[in-house]
Each structure stands twice: as C-alpha cells, then as structure tokens.
C-alpha cells in the first residue's frame, strides 16, 4: 500500500472514530439527562469501538510515515485525544461510573475536532526531531495529558455535585464527593507521574539537541507551571481547609494550563518547540 492510500485509510478511520466518539458523547448525555441505563451501556461500547478504530488509524499513520506519528500539531492532537479516551476507558473499568463519560467524552471530542482542523500531511522530520527521545517524550505526554483530561472531567463532576448537592437528580446520577475526589486524585497522580517523565525526558533530549537541558523556553516554562499547579493540588489535598472544592478547581485550572501549553504556546508564543527558526542562519 502506498503512502497516499495509507493516508486515505488513516483519514477514513480517523473520521469513523470521530463519529463514534460523537455518538458515544450523545449517548452518555442521554444516559445522564434522561436516566437511560442502556444509553450509557451503548455509549461505553461505542467509545471502545471508536478507540479501536482510532488506534488502528494511528498505527496506519505510523507505518505510512515510517516513524512514530507524534511530531506535528495534528499528530499530537489525535494522540492526545487517544490518550484521554484510553485513560477514560481504564478509569471507567476500574471505578465503574458511567456518568464520567458525560463529562470526559466532550473533552476528547473537542480535541479530536481540533485535530480534524490541522493539516494531515506527512512531512519528513527536521534533524532536531530525529531522535528516539521524541517517541518517549511525546508518548509520555499523551498519557499525562490524557489522564489530566479525565481528571478535569471528573473534577467538573465534583463541582457540579458540590454545587447542587441537594438535587435528587445529581445525587442519583453522580458518585458521592469522596469517590469523585478519589477518581480525580488517581487520574492526577497518573498524569503527574507521566508529566514528570515528560519534563525529565524532554530535558535529556534538549541537552542533546539544543545544548541546554533547561533553557526557559516558553513550552518548558508552561510545562513547569502545569507541573506546579498539579504539585500544589497534590499537597493541598492533604492540607486542612483545602480539600474538596478548592482542589477540584486546581484540577480544572491545571487542565487549562495543559491546553495552553499544547495549543497556546505553539500558536501565541515564540518557542523552539514551534520549530520555526532556531538561528539567524538557515536551519
């Protein structure tokens, strides 16, 4: 199969997975709003089906590109959404709360939507990106960001549950606050561990490629800011007077930082991660 055919197949699989994620999101909403248990079950099946197609799409691109598909905005966006869905499936199986889908699938769908708007061309890598550290650095970011996406969705559930604590509907359909706090904590613990790996592997790679393991590049700095937000979350959770609503807010703020680190820095701030111009000379 040629590169063009592979690319066409990948785009088809990508579109199918978007469609399944969208359907799954709608079904989870129906489950949550109309109290239809079956809709939740179907939503769960569909997101798993979409995830399988999405995985195949990434695999096809990997083979077609001859490298790990994690090196441009489209490739990272689709992998980011894949990471969110993977973490969601794991957490849904582990904690068995379908209502999570109502809050997490829209985040995954939005990231997929962003991916759909990016160029899907396969381009050869510039020399600085030809490193095994790329796969490790960006691969760990996919898991980290995915886990933070799940945590943000669950923290939104927490805030909703907290705000409408007397509503019988909310009481019936959302897990209790301590359970939501636990799920969010576990997701952030996973994300934080992987974010630390992202930063450390990025530093090792930067030392090889750009001569400095830490140069306060905007992407690095925003990764550090994200790390600090989640570090504060993890400490605040064990401090008197900080648990609950405040830590849930930190989780949401942390995910906003994640999104800014990924999209905002690349588009708004000059950074070596934008791979535009490194030196006054051609590079």
């Amino acid at each position: 199969m040629g590169v063009d055919q592979s690319l066409q197949l990948e785009i088809t699989l990508f579109n199918l997975s978007i469609a399944l994620y969208l359907l799954s999101m709608v079904l989870y909403l129906v489950f949550f709003i109309a109290k239809k248990e079956r809709a939740g079950d179907f939503g769960s099946y569909l997101i798993k089906g979409g995830f399988m197609l999405h995985t195949v799409a990434l695999g096809v691109r990997w083979v077609a590109a001859g490298r790990v598909p994690l090196s441009n905005q489209y490739e990272f966006a689709t992998a980011f959404a894949w990471g969110i869905v993977l973490c969601f499936i794991i957490f849904e199986i582990k904690f068995s709360y379908k209502a999570m889908g109502t809050f997490v699938t829209p985040i995954a769908f939005l990231i997929m939507g962003y991916a759909a708007m990016q160029s899907k061309d396969i381009r050869p890598l510039m020399p600085a990106l030809q490193s095994n550290w790329l796969s490790i650095h960006v691969g760990t970011a996919v898991i980290s960001y995915g886990a933070f996406g799940v945590a943000a969705g669950v923290s939104l559930m927490y805030l909703l549950r907290n705000q409408f604590s007397n509503s019988p509907f909310v009481k019936k359909h959302l897990p209790d606050l301590s359970t939501l706090d636990l799920i969010s904590y576990r997701a952030i613990a996973l994300g934080f561990f992987f974010l630390t790996l992202v930063i450390v592997t990025g530093a090792i790679w930067a030392e090889q490629a750009w001569a400095r393991y830490w140069s306060w590049d905007p992407k690095e700095t925003w990764s550090l800011i994200t790390w600090i937000i989640y570090a504060v979350y993890l400490h605040a959770r064990i401090m008197r007077g900080w648990q609950g609503k405040k830590t849930a807010l930190f989780s949401v703020i942390g995910f906003i930082c994640v999104l800014f680190t990924y999209i905002g820095v690349n588009t708004l701030l000059p950074s070596i991660h934008s791979y535009a111009l490194l030196l006054p000379f051609e590079w």
Partner: protein, 434 residues
C-alpha cells in the same frame, strides 16, 4: 513538608516553622509559577534599549527595576529558588528520622487512633495463611496481646519515603541548575572547512575538517554534520569526531553542538584598483575597512537565485546560480544595497569588491555544564519518588483472634478507600473469609 502547629512557640521558632512548612513551600511554588509567566510573554535577554523603544516610560521603568528583561536570572527569581531550596532542605532533614521510624516500625495490634486504619470484617473461622496470600501479602507475623493473638504483615514500607525522594530530587535539580549557571560556560565557534582557532575561555583548539549537509529528494535537510578535531595546549590532538544535530561531540567535559549554518564567500576589496583586503566573509557579518571609510555587510544569500515577484529568492538550496545580497556603507552612511553574482565586480567611489567561492559554514555551540550529572540524578530521584509515593503506598493487614471472634483489620494511611475495594475484590472468592 509539614503543616503542624506547636503551642505558643517563640517568634524565632514560628519563623523557623514557617520556613520549613508545607504551606510556605506551596506558596513559593505558586509564586515561582505565576512569575515565570512574565518570561514567556515579555521578550527575554534583549538589550535594555529594545525595551525602552518598545514600551512606555512606566513599563520600561518596571522592567528595568525588576530585571524583567531577564526574569530567570533576576535577583528576586534566584532568591525565590534559594528560599524554595531552603524549604525543601529543612523539611527533608526534619522529616527523614520520622519517616525511617515509620518504615521500621512494625505496628501489630490495630490502634483506633491511627490514620487510615479500618475494620474490614469478622468471622468465626478463617484460613489465615490463605487470607494473607489472597490479599497479596506474605506469611503473617505473630504478636501476642492481652486480648488474644494478632497476626499482621506490612507491605510497601518504602512508600513512606516516596515524597521524601521527590523533594530531595527537586532540591538536587535546583542546586545542580544553579551550579551550572555559576560554574558552566558557553561559547560559539564558526567557520568553513579548514578553519581552526582557540575555543574561548579554554586551553583547547578546534579545527573544522569538513562540513556536510544531507538533503532529501524534496530538498528538506536530513542532517548537518561537522567533522572536527580538538587539540590541547601542546597542540596534541585529543579528539577527532563528528558533531551532528542530536549527537554532540563530547571532549574533556565540553560538548560541541551542531547548532547552525549559513553561507560564506571569499571577498576581495580594492581601493583605486589596488588590492586592499581579501578575506572570508560570513553571512550576517559586516566588514569595516580603511579607517572605517568603507563597510560591506553580507546581508543574505541566494544559492539558486531568481528574481520572483519583485523580490530576490532561491529555487533550491544548491549553488546553481549563487548571488549575494550586500549592503555597502560609505563614510558611515548606507550608500548601496544590491544583489551581486559570484565574480561580478561592484564599484563605488574609489572602492571596488567582488565575491567568489561560496561555501556553507558550520556554526557550533560549545557548552560546559558541571550541573548536568546532578540534574540527571535529581530527575531520577524525582521519578522514583513520585512512583513510590503513588504506587507503593504502605499498607498493613491485621488478623486479630480473640474471645470475641476473628477480626480482619487493614491499614493504608494514603489509600484507605482503594485498599478497601482491593481487599473486597481479592477476598470475595476466599471461602474461608466470605
């Protein structure tokens, strides 16, 4: 880090407690995070004149006073990092004996006051060994109390040290970074093949033997490679090797990075038809000569020149039709700017010049950072610490056999709920328990 209150401590003690408290560490982290944003928005490390031109007097005053043009090297940012280091160091020193005690301590009987302790279930009869095995614990130890026999086993005691390793890792990284900033150095070296010279601030000489650029079919660059030789002060070659992107040449604590490239040409300058100077002129350079009466700037280069839509451009990266864009200054004023072909002569007043033999030069970055091994160690400690803290949380399983029956207790200070659900799923098939 800790968050404890002592009854009526002295002022000094309160300050000391504040400095090593968790709350202080968190506030410092948040301040560092928020102030770091400034450095991502405001252009960094430009000359102060840049800020004076770009911003109004008030903002320029703030930038200058607080060194916002160089946030991460400013006195207040370094002070914040040092304060965080002190906080991390003190809390790590204070916590360690307590954590080690916790690790070694083998609490046997359930103490209702203890955090994370919970009663799981009670039975009349159990297969004790099977219960511990099924729950993922080794064979239990026995402890006799006045109320009967207690069987217990701990797991993941090292988990107590997880956050300690994390804090130490962070401390080691900060200190290593500061060491690198103080004791490290950076310099640059560029030239066409055949050029050699001393590496600034070192006793070493560097010689560029060759420089190649590998292109793909679509004219994108596959790799830049410099062949280099390094000589010591006795002119003895101590290293020969290549430096390419992602693969620096390492020698005697120095790392030589393939950092950039550009074009260079041989330039011959004449005055009143007499040769004045011949030299290699590099892209971006300005050559000033004849008591500053004449200056020629190598502004840009078009290896495969074409005049496209009113602008000079290049069709490919290959030197099929090389042209140079120059700017000529005469008696301090810009007098001429044009594109010139190789070998073509440009005449201005009593001066003339021509350029030829275009070649690509290599731009190397040379760095020594003694903080790297420490930073790597800190990174490893950080990762190990976080993994240990989150995934190896300490837990204890306790079976108390007394006149009232057999009770199963469990203790997991950091994961009570998860441990409970884990025990429920593990023990539900245990016939002697369920």
């Amino acid at each position: 880090m800790r968050d404890e209150k002592q009854p009526q401590p002295s002022k000094m003690k309160r300050v000391y407690q504040g400095i090593h408290s968790m709350k202080f560490g968190m506030v410092l982290l948040l301040i560092i995070g928020v102030l770091s944003i400034i450095g991502t928005i405001l252009p960094q490390d430009r000359p102060l004149s840049f800020y004076e031109e770009e911003y109004n007097a008030l903002i320029y005053g703030i930038i200058e006073t607080f060194q916002l043009h160089s946030v991460y090297q400013s006195w207040w940012f370094i002070a914040l990092m040092l304060l965080l280091s002190v906080n991390l160091l003190l809390c790590s020193i204070i916590r360690l004996p307590k954590l080690l005690k916790k690790m070694k301590q083998e609490p046997s009987a359930p103490d209702p006051k203890e955090k994370g302790l919970f009663f799981f279930d009670a039975k009349k009869e159990i297969n004790r060994e099977a219960v511990f095995k099924k729950a993922g614990f080794s064979a239990p130890k026995k402890h006799s109390t006045g109320e009967g026999e207690v069987y217990y086993r701990r797991k993941h005691a090292v988990g107590h040290l997880g956050s300690w390793f994390t804090h130490i890792g962070l401390l080691v990284i900060i200190v290593s970074y500061l060491v690198g900033q103080i004791a490290g150095f950076e310099t640059f070296f560029y030239g066409v093949p055949g050029v050699s010279g001393s590496i600034e601030d070192t006793p070493y000489q560097l010689s560029i033997e060759d420089f190649t650029i590998d292109y793909r079919e679509d004219n994108s660059v596959e790799q830049y490679t410099s062949n280099l030789r390094v000589y010591d002060e006795d002119n003895t070659m101590i290293k020969e090797g290549i430096s390419s992107v992602n693969d620096p040449l390492r020698v005697e604590g120095l790392s030589i990075y393939q950092n950039g490239t550009g074009w260079a040409t041989e330039m011959h300058l004449f005055k009143e038809d007499e040769p004045l100077r011949s030299l290699t002129l590099y892209q971006g350079e300005i050559h000033v000569d004849d008591d500053q009466r004449i200056a020629i700037q190598f502004y840009d280069f078009y290896p495969d020149y074409v005049f496209h839509q009113g602008m000079p451009a290049t069709r490919s990266p290959y030197p099929n039709n090389p042209h140079l864009l120059y700017v000529l200054f005469y008696e301090g004023l810009r007098a001429d700017m044009n594109v010139v072909a190789m070998g073509e002569e440009v005449v201005f007043q009593e001066y003339a010049f021509r350029v030829e033999d275009p070649r690509q030069f290599t731009y190397l970055q040379i760095v020594r950072d003694p903080g790297i091994p420490g930073a790597l160690l800190g990174g490893v400690l950080l990762i190990v610490g976080i993994f240990t803290a989150f995934y190896l949380y300490p837990k204890t399983l306790i079976v108390r056999e007394g006149p009232k029956g057999i009770e199963l207790w469990a203790r997991a200070p950091r994961g009570e709920k998860l441990f409970h659900s884990n025990l429920t799923s593990r023990l539900k098939e245990e016939s002697n328990w369920e």
